[in-house]
Amino acid sequence: MAIFLDKNSKVIVQGITGREGLFHTQRMLAYGTNIVGGVTPGKGGTHVDGGSASAAASNLPVFNTVKDAVDATGATHTIIFVPPPFAADALYEAHDAGIGLAVAITEGIPAHDMLKVVATTKSMRIIGPNCPGLVSPGKALVGIMPSGVFASGRIGMISRSGTLTYEIVDMLTRAGLGQSTCVGIGGDPIIGTTFVDCLEAFANDPETDAIVVCGEIGGSDEEDAAAFIKAHLPNKPCVAFIGGRSAPKGKRLGHAGAIISGNFGTPESKLAAFAAAGVPVADRPSEIPDLLMSRLAMHA
């Protein structure tokens, strides 16, 4: 089943004719994602070459508006590759056209734009922004993740970071622990889908047996995740990792959201929360597969 995304999801690409947009469209198509078209205002009626994955893929329709794309293709998902000043508008457009899930890759969207977007587009799930997207291995990939590291399986993965996800997933895959869905929720302070939202979905997914939560310093999403796991996930083992545990206070590290402000967003608080929820926290990514396997064995 996976969460949020499967083989049947019909995906469009907002900003498909841009360099990034086209490059990743081709990669997603090669992975098997059901990309049905793209949107670039003013280029409606033209086509782009999505590569040789299929006859349709080599001649993908471009539309002027998301509404046109949805009307013509029945698209359910969108992935957004537009610069920060236009990203909020792209999300509003997707929402208005009835899109169910939008992946916002864009880094650098003003937090205040996102405050308003998330408050007013509640009928649409937003993944990100400033995220690598999501993949349900063997089914579909909507994002910019390197497809090679993933393997189909029964581990759910949620992460605020892209590269740490690849690092951890690579280890899982090598250890024979394939993944049901991996969601990169994004490194910004205001994101559409949180750990808790993903945990809720994984809780209801019969094809997910265990979950890896890859957090980092800043904010309180990890604390909320720990509380949710304690209350609602007694039967699915979870393992956590927290990036940036050695970071000093007050320094913003790459992600706009990764900053310890005063006594807020500290690793100590997150470690304590996971401990209280009975969730083991790996000191190194390399420990995660073993922790998962021992937990799975306990639950078996």
Binding site: A111, S161, T163, L164, G187, I190, G219, G254, S286
Partner: protein, 393 residues
């Protein structure tokens, strides 16, 4: 800085004390001479605690103002949080108001709630976190629905809940409305009035102003961008931007007592991997001197400049470059590294490269041909870097 925050306050109609922003002692004295009254000379610095550091003075006439202004201009204010200190380059000369009461009001982003939150306290002039700890009943919060925006009832509710003196009540909705307008329009992470003064004559005035802008939103207000570069900028951020990295893609860490010395430079692709690399070094018993996220592309030029930036820190005794080939192919990154470190214009320190992921094999081959022998895992790389920094060969 305060004077900039107050300029924004005035734009949205929040009352501030009468005054002038003076950039020289002469200007300061001239203003006081021309405007009889009691004046406060406030050093314009980024650091907190300027009052205790001797950065605020009072003068009732030009004669009193002259020695004080002469003293303040060029003075380096220091305190525990800012041991290096910050030089005073300008003063805000402000009317000294008769204080009847001091309150606190701020708006910031609550990440978990995904909403702006207004915080009001009847204990003005104090650190709000301390008040929250010791006098929670003096603090009240309201989470604004961004779809609705600020409404006057929110101010009434906050004023009653935080038990603000009645003298504040009439002016309060307009002040919070201005604060919210500023928060949203200028994309602020924090707008703060502390203290919000109720004067003896019954006026409500923002006596101090603090505004932290969201870097991502600054493009909407080019005039504020200029202001931002006005003060002493974060040197790490300036250095990162200078070589084409994002503002927060580089951070240098100070040594801390009780921890291993920061002797290992780090470069990684991706913020998460960058943080993980620092952590791995700590786990291996070492200390990362910096965080550097080189991003997705990693062209040779950027690798070289990043390497030079990290090694410009004399503490750096070894370097750990940690790459997980994702979108970027491992062979491309390897070429970048080889190209970057070819010349003589880099300070050579013992180097550990970890390269894995997409096209890692090809990349490792390229590195080997250039005499670099990359490790396979992050743990291995961290351990080796620590050993090298400690003098191993």
């Amino acid at each position: 800085m305060e004077y900039q925050g107050k300029e924004l306050f005035r734009r949205v109609g929040i009352p501030t004390p009468r005054g002038v922003h003076a950039t020289s002692a002469a200007d300061t004295v001239a203003f006081v001479a021309a405007n009889p009254g009691s004046w406060v000379l406030k050093s314009q610095v980024m650091m907190g605690g300027r009052g205790k550091a001797g950065g605020i003075k009072f003068a009732d006439d030009a004669a009193a103002a002259k020695p004080l202004a002469d003293e303040l201009f060029g003075k380096v204010l220091k305190n525990e949080q800012n041991p290096d200190g910050e030089e005073v380059r300008s003063l805000l000369v402000e009317e000294k108001v008769q204080i009847a009461s001091e309150a606190y009001a701020s708006i910031t982003i609550d990440r978990a709630a995904k909403k702006p939150v207004i915080i009001v306290s009847s204990q003005g002039g104090m650190d709000v976190e301390e008040v929250a700890e010791h006098h929670p009943e003096a603090i009240s919060k309201f989470w604004i629905d961004p779809a609705i925006g600020f409404q006057p009832f929110e101010a009434r509710q906050l004023a009653f809940a935080a038990k603000l003196p009645v003298g504040y009540h009439k002016a309060f909705p307009k002040i919070l409305a201005g604060l919210y307008q500023m928060f949203m329009e200028y994309g602020a992470n924090l707008v703060e009035i502390n203290p919000l003064v109720l004067t003896a004559s019954g006026d409500v005035i923002a006596s101090d102003a603090k505004v932290e802008l969201d870097d991502n939103g600054i493009y909407k207000h080019p005039d504020l961008n200029a202001w931002r570069n006005d003060g002493p900028a974060d040197e790490d951020q300036a250095a990162a931007v200078a070589i084409g990295l994002g503002m927060s893609n580089y951070a240098k860490f100070a040594d801390e007592s009780g921890e291993a010395p920061k002797t290992i430079g780090t470069i990684a692709n991706g913020a998460g991997l960058g943080m993980g690399t620092m952590d791995a070094i700590k786990s291996a018993g070492g200390g990362a001197a910096n965080f550097l996220d080189i991003g997705g592309g990693a062209q040779a030029e950027l690798v070289k400049n990043s390497y030079n930036l990290v090694t410009s820190d004399p503490r750096v005794k070894a370097m750990f470059i940690n790459i997980f080939g994702g979108i970027t192919r491992g062979d491309q990154v390897a070429l970048g590294i080889v190209e970057a470190l070819k010349g003589d214009d880099v300070r050579k320190v013992p180097l550990v490269i970890r390269l894995t992921g997409t096209n890692a094999e090809e990349g490792r081959k390229i590195l080997a041909e250039a005499g670099f022998f990359p490790v396979e895992t992050m743990n291995e790389g961290a351990a080796k870097a620590v050993a090298l920094a400690n003098g191993a060969k």
